[in-house]
Structure formats: C-alpha cells, structure tokens
C-alpha cells in the first residue's frame, strides 16, 4: 500500500517499500508554467533533505527541486528528457521526477498528507 506525502515546497512523495517516487504538485507546475527542460539527477547520488535534486526550467526561469528527505537516487524519469511538458500535463503521474531509497523513513512523519497540503495552498 503506497502512502502519499506532501511538502511545503510543493513536492509529492509516493512511498512504497522504502522507496519514494518524487514529483512536484499540480499547483507547483501551474506556478512554474510551461517546462522546457528538466535537469535529472545522477543515479546513485546520495542526498540529504534540502539538497537540490533536480532543476526544472520553464521558458522564463530555472527552479530548484529539493530532496524532501534523505536518501539515494535509484531512478530518474528519463522520458522527461524528450518531453519535459509531461510535468505540466501529468505532474502527479507520468511527470514524476525521480525515485529514491529512503535512508531515514522517520522524516516522513514531518510531511503533510493531502488534506493538510490542500489547506497549505489554500
């Protein structure tokens, strides 16, 4: 059973078996506008919570996406290399950014559930 968590920085995490699939929320993709490039992370990179994992570039600007928890990158969504607009059209589905193996699952406790996130964005 997968659990979905949200961060104040407008990321979502779907956690299953110690692995989190991470993306940005629909609200975030709307704020960024049309994406034209996603700089994907290297497999095997170890990230601490708050490190820049991915850079998403819209027509106008580049924005960092941070690691929401500690862990190691095990997969990047390479389909974004040819079609970055997947993040706009399917932010919480095919537009996922990376998968990471959690190294401190207790960090998930400080994240929001969907109801709390909805309240957060108003």
């Amino acid at each position: 059973m997968a659990n979905t968590y949200f961060t104040e920085d407008h990321e979502w995490l779907r956690v299953e078996g110690g692995v989190a699939t991470v993306g940005i929320t629909d609200y975030a993709q709307e704020q960024l506008g049309d994406l034209v490039f996603v700089e994907l992370p290297e497999i095997g990179r170890k990230l601490a919570k708050g490190d820049t994992a991915v850079v998403v570039e819209s027509v106008k600007a580049a924005s960092d996406v941070y690691a929401p928890v500690d862990g190691e990158i095990i997969e990047a969504n390479t389909s974004l290399s040819s079609d970055p607009s997947l993040v706009n059209s399917a932010a919480t589905g095919d537009g996922w950014l990376w998968k990471m193996k959690l190294s401190n699952a207790s960090q998930l406790d400080s994240l929001m559930d969907e109801a709390a996130y909805k309240a957060h964005i108003g």
Binding site: Q31, G33, D34, V36, F37, E39, V55, E57, S58, V59, K60, A61, A62, S81, P84
Partner: protein, 366 residues
C-alpha cells in the same frame, strides 16, 4: 512580492478577470501569463494577434520651437530631419556614450514629438530630459495614457474590425488617429503590429472590441520577453545598460552617419573615440546545443577555457523550438559559427555564436 510602492495598471481589473498571473517588473505589478500559458501565448502572437498591456511604459510629449534641438542634444538623432509621422529608434546616452535608455521618438508636427521610454527608466528619463529642456525652448510633458500593443499577422485586421483603419501606416510611423491617441506601427515581437497610447475609457472600449475577435488574445510579459528575444531585440537593464555603448551593442544602424560625424549629442566625443579604436566586446546571438536553456548572467568561455564574454538574455524560444540567448563576446569571437561554452551550474553547455534574429522580422515596410 508586491510592496506598497508597487504600481498597478489602470486595466488591472480586466487582467484579473482574464485569469492573469501577476509578477513584479520595473516597480509594476504586471500580468506575466494568462491561463493559456507562455508557450501558447507566444505562438498565438506569431500566428494571429496578441494583445499586450504595456502601460508600464511611459509616453512623453516634447514640444516647442526648441523641441528638435533638445532631442538632438539628448539623443544621437537628427530630429529635424524626420518626416512628420516618422518614428526612430534611438537612445539617451551619458557622457561616456553608455545607454541610459533606448527609446522611440516620433515626429507628430513641426515642433511636436512623442517619446516612448521604458518603465524601469521612466523617472530617470523624465528628470534627464526635463533638466536638458531648461537650455532649450521646449517643454517635456509626461502623458497619462493606457498603452496597448497588438502584435501579429492579424493585428491590422483585428483593428480594422474594431473600426480602426491602419491601411497606409507603415512600420516605424506614428499618428494621432483620435484626440489624445497615439498609434504607431511598431512593437517588440518582430511581427507586424501596433502600439496605441490612449485614455483609459477609450482603452476599455477598444479592449472589449478587440477581445470579441477570436484572433485576439491577451499575452503576458513572459511571452513578450520570449518574443523579443527570438526577434533579437534588446531589453534595457539586461542587454543594454549605462555601461554599454551603441557600437558594442551592434546598434550603430540607429545613428545616422552625419550625426555620428558631427552631431552634438551628449556622449558624442566618447562614442567617436570608441568607434575609432573599435569596441572590445560585441553583442551576438547565441544558440545553445540541446534543450537546456542558458540564462542571463552565465559566463562564456572558449574551447581553451579562456573568458569569452557573458550571456545577457536567455531562455527558450517557443517558435524556434530550441533555447535562444544573446550576450556579449570578445570582438575576435563574433563570427557566426564560433563555438563557445556557457557555464550553467558548473556544467559547460556548448553554444554557437549566431546571427540575429532567430525568427525573421515580418514588419510592414511598404
């Protein structure tokens, strides 16, 4: 993001109703995008007609027997040689020939001109021009207008349907079609189009009429920037600054030969000596390899890692389908096809020097 001093557009309620997302630019709260998004807004402008609220820009009336002489002092211009209704792209220069602002001057009558200045420099421009006016028999009057741009191949037809005939007006000409209106065939997209300064009540009426036309849609500041960048047009504050001169910027075409040789404009001596020794850097187009945009501020190096210049504007070109940029490089490296590298977060992105514009201009010149 919007502090107390932020200025608001007179038509802000219309942009809100249209679902605009706002952002700060040059002290103004400006519509950045509408629900269609930057990509579609950009392409719609190139295919049909985009409507832009550019009321953050400032119009000045310059009049009086000394008006032409005042402009000839403030700008590298022969204002008296302009035909009535003719517009000219020009600059305010400082004593070092640096560009204080880039402007469009239009002659409306024997002793009457209108100057269109950038939002970010409007206050400084007014101070500068008013101070100079004291030495001439001329008056500088900021105009209180809504300023709209309608740009794209269907712009003229959309205006015609809104009962505004543009038939005989050519690119870089401006007229006063109604009382307190100023309309020029000009713009910042590379497309055929018009810029119209008019009183707020008239503007509301015109916008309502134009938006009834399915060829017309609001376009925000984000697409205005990608359109002008593809068109190779400079943004003051990025591609032009008071530290950059017209020779380095590749804008000497805007300064008539006789004015270069013998004009008495501010900065004339400095510009002449720059021309004599040649600029050390020049503005060029830059085409990054691949899909990753290269942004303003990125350093450029040559194949051996030597400093080559820097990027002043960069982003993605929705019409070109690839990233586009411009910047300044050492004069030895300006040849189209020269391979350079831009530093983007520590990665060296290959970029090729290229001629501008990225998308051909489609002005109506005659």
């Amino acid at each position: 993001m919007t502090g107390e001093d932020t200025k608001h557009l007179p038509l802000e309620d219309l942009h809100n109703a249209a679902g605009a997302r706002f952002g700060a630019f040059a002290g103004w709260s400006m519509p950045l995008t509408y629900p269609a998004g930057v990509m579609k807004e950009h392409l719609h402008t190139r295919e049909h007609a985009g409507l832009f609220d550019i009321s953050h820009m400032k119009l000045f009336a310059v009049g009086g027997p000394g008006a032409a002489a005042l402009l000839d002092r403030a700008c590298p211009l022969d204002a008296g040689a302009l035909e009535i209704s003719q517009s000219k792209y020009t600059f305010f220069l400082n004593e070092a020939a640096g560009i204080i602002d880039d402007l469009i001057v239009t002659r409306l009558g024997d002793n009457r001109f209108v100057v269109v200045a950038n939002a970010g420099n409007a206050a400084e421009d007014e101070k500068h021009l008013s101070a100079l006016a004291a030495d001439f028999d001329a008056k500088v009057e900021p105009l209180d207008r809504v300023f709209l741009a309608i740009q794209g191949p269907d712009a003229w037809a959309a205006l015609a349907r809104a009962s505004i005939e543009t038939g005989s007006l050519l690119f870089m000409h401006g007229v006063e079609p109604r009382q307190n209106w100023f309309m020029s065939r000009s713009g910042y997209t590379g497309e055929d189009g018009f810029e119209i300064g008019l009183p707020e009540a008239d503007a509301r009426d015109l916008v309502a009429k134009l938006l009834q036309d399915e060829r017309v849609q609001w376009v925000g500041l984000a697409a205005r920037d990608s359109l002008r960048l593809e068109a190779g047009l400079c943004l003051h504050g990025q591609d032009l600054t008071p530290e950059i001169d017209a020779a380095s910027a590749g804008l000497m075409w805007a300064i008539p030969k006789e004015v270069r040789a013998s004009g008495h404009f501010i900065g004339a001596d400095a510009l002449r000596s720059i021309l004599e020794r040649g600029p050390s850097q020049k503005r060029v187009g830059l085409k990054p390899d691949g899909r990753q945009p290269v942004r303003a501020g990125a350093a450029l190096v040559d194949a051996d890692g030597n400093a080559a210049g820097h990027v002043t504007s960069g982003g993605f070109g929705p019409s070109t389908g690839h990233p586009v940029a411009m910047g300044y490089v050492s004069t030895a490296l300006v040849k189209p096809g020269t391979r350079l590298f831009a530093d983007v977060r520590g990665t060296k992105i290959p970029v090729d020097v290229t001629s501008l514009p990225f998308t051909p201009h489609r002005y109506r010149k005659g």
